[in-house]
Amino acid sequence: GAGVSQSPSNKVTEKGKDVELRCDPISGHTALYWYRQRLGQGLEFLIYFQGNSAPDKSGLPSDRFSAERTGESVSTLTIQRTQQEDSAVYLCASSLSDYLTDTQYFGPGTRLTVL
């Protein structure tokens, strides 16, 4: 079956512009996660959705970052007034549920470059 997909694969934008990144999780997966990966770094947790519960936004670095998810489907991560330090690969993952040992399946990521 289809895995996690993300679009666009690459995004180049100018400083100060808003960007929207999309994630399509695996069908039936109730949990969805966004991570940020700076060049040569590990993954940094941003936000987590589980079903219809309130999302855990504790990893969002500033109020310029926001994310939405409609039910158990597509999620969008929005970065407003982008800054150069926002340049990174943004990874989305989904899992069957949020049970500790449910495997997270990652998408290929969106590479964001802010000029």
């Binding site: 949990a31 590990g42 987590y48 855990d56 990874l91 949020d98 040992t101 997270q104 998408g107």
Partner: protein, 112 residues
Amino acid sequence: GESVGLHLPTLSVQEGDNSIINCAYSNSASDYFIWYKQESGKGPQFIIDIRSNMDKRQGQRVTVLLNKTVKHLSLQIAATQPGDSAVYFCAAPWGGYQKVTFGTGTKLQVIP
């Protein structure tokens, strides 16, 4: 949250040799650990996991060892192949569910 780290940023091994990638963690309450493999241009891929009630777990050509006394885990890859070239991350969920903290990663380079 959990803090995990890798001892070596880059590891070069000869094809056919065994590889050992190490990782240290800080939270002694962590009870579940995961190893991921990330190939260039792709998202991380689950390799193997281990619960804290285990010292060792084996998969296909991979073994994870957990030493809770010194808060250290390792990933062993047997008969390393060129396709094993990637960055390997150890990770530990925290926050009661799968909010995962990843280490910086070790880049494994396989020399043909």
